[in-house]
Amino acid sequence: MDILRRNNVAVTGDPDGPTVVLAHGFGCDQNMWRLTVPALARDHRVVLFDYVGSGRSALSAFDEPRYSTLDGYADDVVDVCDALDLHEAVFVGHSVSAMIGVLAARKVPERIGALVMVVPSPCYVDDGEYHGGFSAEDIDELLSSLESNYLGWSAAMAPAIMGTPDLPELGEELTNSFCATDPAMARVFARTTFLSDSRADLAAVRVPTLILESTEDVIAPREVGAYVQAHVKGSTLVTLDSTGHCPHLSAPDATNRAITDFLATLR
């Protein structure tokens, strides 16, 4: 299958500028970057995509074993980079995508030249001294929250979303559709995300890295941001004046400024 179609790849901005890849996390899709794209598109070529199983990706390409590890999602990133023949691109990953970016950068070092980790967490579940913020039971509870909400969504949303892959603008009219996808696939992504432990991968990062955190974020508390900075050699940590797990939506100006400042240092 065509990768650009499979991952619903969209390319915008300055075709001659340096390339920035924006990767959404668990929950919604590339629409999450709607307030980020305008700030980057002036001087950069901006690549957006949806992971298989999210947004308007080709759901038929979903393969449970592949997407049951972050490695499988990293392969999506590699596939997109290969399809566009990217070199030295800056990979901006939100939440779990920050760690997916770490894995992808190790697979194709020539394609990914820098990382921006937006509210990353290498491990969500507490483990001894390490405080990820959640217990395994909490994660089970999230899975059941997903289940109870998809009861209504799956029937009402699935036909609308799956039937109109060529009409992305139609999605804008569908309430809640950005975060709606096949419940079975969302469940796999949720489980893979929140039960992952990528702490050991942080030390392998060899590219310039910017870490963004919120002042208050239940999913990625500041303790975790400090942990990531301590384990990624030469990384920069910026604490945004924002609350919640989506600073690119709740504090777009501060987020955009931090990213563009970082991009300027790469020139």
């Binding site: 919604c28 959640f134 909490d138 009861l151 975060c179 239940v218």
Partner: protein
């Protein structure tokens, strides 16, 4: 009666049959109604300015809020009908349905979020019941699929037991056979066999029992063993025996009959010729395909269906296969297959055309060509089909 009764916006807000709260954009609760405070078991002072909306939720709910609810609210300005759970003072949980809307200032900047919360415990109990029913239905479906697979396996084994495991090598004769199963869920009633009678005589038969399923398979089994036992006689007598057996067994109740061709083979290794003598009981005529490309259906003075009448006659036909000639036996699954939506049959003419094109090849090549045709029908092929081809091997020209 209603004169004099007034309601106030203030009281309608405070004692509404649903919870109301307002938060600043960072989630801090700035206003809450009495209904919600009662549900939470908290005082206004403990909530306003002190807690965020997410503090009222379970941990799973917080995660869901951060990954779905909050981004949707930011992108759409409103979110409706999300199922979450409140944690009440004392640890009890209360299923709720939540809708939120962002209030913007005159400049279009988000100012605050208004949230309405409905008690959803009855609805949630109903949904959980539905969920349980769905899980039970999924389990039942899996069980049914397992049972079906097991039944199909059993049917396949039974079907195989009604056919020869392998076709024996008949000296001086080339052979090929094929059985096409239309449905793995049903036993077909077609059968064939080829076997030695004595030193240089061989017998073959191919037939079709009316109907499908276990009853048809039982008749197939009877037909097969009866014909094998009666093979010592000439073909007409063998079919006569089968007729008598079926008639006696089934005439009193459930009428069961079949059509069949039964024949004997004698090959002459010196000339390469094969002498065939066969009789037919109501069966589609065998197709003789000469090496030179001519072909004919061997319309005999046809006997009646086997098992219908107490005594029936089954006239015999003799034919000699010269080197390169073939004789094709088939069941009507082939000639009565629907070739298109207009429900036209594949028919004898199409069969004859295809067979002539393979004249002078081999029984194996002809069976392969026909099985491709059968596969091409796909689900339109409603009936099982048996094919049996007998040939006199072509001889090298320099041998003449």
């Amino acid at each position: 009666m209603t004169a004099g009764i007034e309601d106030t916006a203030e009281d309608a807000y405070e004692t509404a049959p649903c919870g109301h709260l307002s938060t600043s954009m960072d989630g801090t609760i700035i206003k809450v109604n009495r209904t919600l405070l009662d549900w939470l078991g908290l005082t206004r002072d403990a909530v306003v300015g002190r807690l965020r909306f997410t503090d009222l939720l379970t941990v799973g709910g917080k995660l869901y809020h951060e990954t779905h609810f909050a981004p949707l609210l930011r992108m759409q300005g409103e979110v409706g009908g999300i199922a979450l759970e409140l944690t009440r003072d004392g640890g009890a949980r209360m299923p709720i349905l939540v809708s939120s809307v962002v209030r913007y200032d005159d400049a279009g900047e988000p100012l605050l979020v208004r949230t309405t919360i409905f008690d959803a415990h009855i609805r949630r109990a109903y949904e959980e019941e539905l969920l349980r029913e769905r899980q039970a239905a999924d389990l039942a479906r899996q069980q049914a699929e397992t049972d079906r697979a097991r039944l199909q396996d059993a049917l396949a084994v039974l079907q195989q037991s009604l056919l020869p495991a392998t076709i024996p090598d008949v000296p001086g004769v080339t052979t090929a056979a094929y059985y096409h199963t239309a449905s793995p869920d049903e036993l077909g009633g077609d059968f064939y066999d080829i076997f030695a009678i004595d030193g240089d005589r061989w017998a073959f038969f191919l037939g079709d029992v009316c109907g499908k399923g276990p009853d048809a398979a039982a008749v197939t089994s009877v037909a097969r063993y009866t014909l094998r036992a009666a093979a010592m006689h000439n073909p007409a007598a063998a079919l006569g025996t089968l007729n008598a057996v079926l008639h006696e067994r089934y005439a009193s109740g459930d009428l069961r009959y079949c059509t069949a061709v039964f024949g004997t083979l004698r090959s002459d290794l010196d000339t390469g010729r094969v002498a065939v003598r066969f009789a037919s009981g109501g069966h589609p005529p065998p197709l003789l395909i000469r090496a030179n490309g001519s072909s004919d259906f061997l319309l005999s003075e046809d006997g009646t269906l086997i098992g219908i009448l107490p005594s029936s006659q089954f006239p015999q036909t003799d034919v000699v296969l010269d080197p390169g000639d073939m004789l094709l036996l088939y069941t009507d699954g082939l000639t009565e297959a629907r070739v298109n939506r207009a429900r036209d049959f594949y028919g004898p003419e199409a069969l004859q055309t295809l067979a002539s094109r393979h004249a002078g090849t081999s029984p194996t090549a002809l069976v392969e060509a026909l099985s491709d045709v059968l596969a091409g029908f796909g689900p339109r092929l409603a009936d099982d089909t048996a094919l049996l081809v007998l040939g006199a091997p072509a001889r090298p020209h320099n041998g003449l």
